[in-house]
Amino acid sequence: MDESEDTPKDFIMLKSEKLSVDEVSELVVSPYCGAVSLFIGTTRNNFEGKKVIHLEYEAYTSMAETEITKICRDVRQKWPSVKHIAVHHRLGVVPITEASVIIAVSSPHRAESLEAVMYCINTLKASVPIWKKEIYEDEYSWKENKECFWANSEK
């Protein structure tokens, strides 16, 4: 058994095609890991009583990839046993119930991958330059994550 053949990898992808849970989890599976933890962010069909038709995402792509890379580096510092990390985020139009983001992390035992996945999505929401527009029947709204420290929280 030579674990050095399975060097830890980060798989970061921003794309407009439909995301695949199978594809993302297969990226992180490792024979040295007993746990793969996943987070899937999906599109809700309502917000404050308004019907959401679909979401649209845009990104400062180069910086978003850099920020996600930093998140992966932080994860490996906090949970050194984490093996592979995959973060796939969809851009453009995302229909209701489809996934906007899938995060998968593998580790030998489950605690680290579960905690790392939570850290990834929470930190992504606070620091990665991606924007979501909710399209309703008559109007639209640029959303603001509460984790964003420069957002105006009083409306």
């Binding site: 400062y60 992504l124 620091s127 330059p129 991606i130 924007w131 964003c148 105006n152």
Partner: protein, 83 residues
């Protein structure tokens, strides 16, 4: 001359996604914002909600002195909503 990138609501208010702007090599982030608002006055409404990303590092609007090189990317970053 720097490249200014506009995203989300700021792109809607400015009416474009990217342009080159001539600015002093040394300028505070607030002064840089004011230069941009001179060109696109509609951006003034989001002043309290945006930050910059200068060479892909976040910078608050304020007294921070920026040292800009020709071709540097400066992005206007409205409140984010990824994930």
């Amino acid at each position: 001359q720097v490249s200014v990138l506009y995203f989300a609501r700021s792109a809607e208010l400015a009416g474009l996604r990217c342009e080159t702007l001539s600015v002093p090599r040394q300028i505070t982030s607030l002064q840089l914002w004011e230069e941009i608002v001179k060109v696109h006055p509609r951006l003034a409404v989001i002043q309290d909600q945006v930050v910059f990303a200068v060479r892909q590092e976040y910078v608050l609007l304020g007294d921070q002195l920026l040292v800009l090189q020709p071709g540097d990317e400066v992005a206007i970053i409205p409140p984010i909503s990824g994930g």
